[in-house]
Amino acid sequence: MPADLRTKIGHLDLPSPILTAAGCAGTGRELAQFTDVARIGAVTTMSVTLEPRAGNPAPRLAETPSGLLSAAGLQSPGVDGFLRRDLPWLLSRGARAVVSVAGHTAREYGELATRLSDAAGVTAIEVNLGCPDAAASGRPFALDPGAAGQVVAAVRGSARYDIPVFAKLSPEAGDIVSIAQACVTAGADGLSMINTLPGMVIDPVSLRPALAGHAGGLSGPAIRPIAVRCVWQVREALPDVPIIGTGGVRTGRDALEFLLAGAKLVAVGTVLFHDPSACARIQRELEEELAARGVDRVTDIVGRAHQSAGYAAERRGWV
């Protein structure tokens, strides 16, 4: 019998712990050509900003070993465009929408949370803390506990009480646990990790950086061990806070790894560019991986890797 993938976070009931990661599912329409968006846990949107943004010029992406370097520059239709076109479409298809929000000041984030709360149908808000902080000469919010906490507090203060707020953390932070603690103290209902790692590719033909924006964010299976380590550390410090694990998930086994490290939900990102039907496949593979280990419910396995070796041996059958 396939394992039960239903997952509950607070009062949210999701049919599966597999989500799409922010900025990797287009508007949802592109993905829906290959996957039934209603059957995955939720669709995380690309980061929505207050005003429309054109983003960076091309080239925006470069291939790296088992990864992609990207600097799309937060191209966004703006919150008006999103609420008018993209959100209603997602809801019409029966998808649950986790809306990623981005801004340059805590006020912008707060305003976005207000606008999203006024619209019906937002499942959760994910705060993209990877944006440059205008007040700290462009340092990302995610690198400073104070700045991250302020943004999360602004979102939590403006969002409707029944919309959970997740803070997306960066692996670049020296001490990710302190940032996680600051976000939870500021009212985050959950944490999402990890965002991309900064990197650069130089084009051997043009002898210049391959991306128009020079540096970019590295994602994909290349960064998965870093993401698993971050999830592990935060789970160790804050065992009761729900975590969305993301970073290079490609197979059901990869998703299992994040669940074992302590993530309640797992988001699939860059791999969608390679395989647009990856979410459905990973869900199927995860069911098989759980069944092969005699696990009936996916929630039973969350954080399993933190149990002592002796206890695990007692519960035989764990591969």
């Binding site: 592109e30 091309a58 088992s66 465009g81 560019f273 390679h274």
Partner: protein, 299 residues
């Protein structure tokens, strides 16, 4: 029709001059295909370290084996080399057909098909479709050297006329397609130009065509695509919508075929200051901020 993701069996891999031509059995793609559309192929196998799909214009579809698609590429980078090393009966993960196809005229019109290098490949399926509509077709093909001109023989056989030009003069006349364009257009009394070439060629072709008031349907090969499906937002270029507003549109979804006067050729690779959402851009005061409302509809 919506694209599909299929596991297609390689039927043949053969060298054609400087290129590799690959035929894959993919009935679901072949039946949906319209000229100008492309495929996105995963390279390197299921656990590949190469995450970007390789995108190729479809050269030809045939009804044998339920439906096959053929594409042509230079085996220059490691992903394309991996494909070139595939053998018959290997299985590939292929998504297609993707993108906006070439629109074809309703009534017979004199069509010029301009292709540079492997960019000529998608023009032959278009030529058959135009022939069905009784449109006379003229070819203007170019490349650096004779072995990089794709389809010269077919063009001579199927076109009303075919002019070949190479940079080194090893086939046809020496020079570039833009040198010969005015002569060819005048002789053929061209009504429409279909062009598939690098940006450096499309830019002057569209400028010349605008001078003669000839509409152009341009198939862009740059910026390079990463996913081909519209998810990654990588292949953006500035294009003017029907409402006169410039937006950063994805070549894979809104293209790869654009009307020549819609793309801001001189601004490709930049964010024009007046593009929707450019730095410093302010929403225009107006009813409901119509600026962000309409998507670009090419054609």
């Amino acid at each position: 029709m919506a694209p599909v993701q299929v596991r297609g069996t390689v039927l043949t891999v053969r060298r054609v001059d400087a290129y590799v031509a690959m035929t894959v059995v993919a009935p679901a793609i072949a039946t949906r295909f319209r000229p100008g559309q492309f495929l996105a192929v995963a390279v390197g196998g299921p656990a590949s370290s190469m995450l970007a799909r390789r995108t190729f214009s479809v050269h030809d579809v045939r009804p044998d084996h339920g439906g096959t698609v053929e594409f042509v590429f230079p085996a220059r980078e490691p992903g394309a080399q991996w494909l070139a090393d595939c053998r018959a009966r290997d299985v590939l993960d292929v998504v297609g057909p993707l993108g906006r196809p070439f629109p074809v005229p309703r009534d017979p019109a004199s069509c010029l098909l301009l292709g540079v290098g492997p960019g000529a490949a998608p023009l032959f399926a278009l030529a058959s479709r135009l022939a069905e509509r009784n449109c006379p077709t003229d070819f203007l093909l170019g490349a650096e050297s004779a072995d990089r001109v794709f389809g010269a023989l077919t063009a001579r056989r199927t076109g009303r006329s075919a002019v070949i030009t190479t940079t080194d003069g090893s086939l046809g006349s020496r020079g570039s397609v833009t040198d010969l364009l005015p002569t060819v257009v005048a002789q053929a009394r061209t009504d429409v130009i279909y062009a598939s070439a690098p940006l450096s060629v499309l830019r002057p072709v569209c400028a010349l065509a605008a001078r003669y008031a000839i509409p152009v349907q341009a198939l862009v090969a740059e910026p390079p695509m990463t996913c081909g499906t519209g998810l990654c937002m990588g292949c953006v270029l500035p294009a003017v919508g029907k409402d006169g507003i410039t937006r950063m549109v994805r070549a894979c979804v809104d293209g790869p075929v654009f009307r020549g006067d819609q793309v801001r050729w001189d601004d490709v690779g930049t964010i024009p200051f007046d593009a929707l959402g450019a730095p410093g851009w302010k929403p225009r005061p107006g009813p409901g901020g119509a600026a962000s409302e309409e998507r670009t509809h090419a054609g």
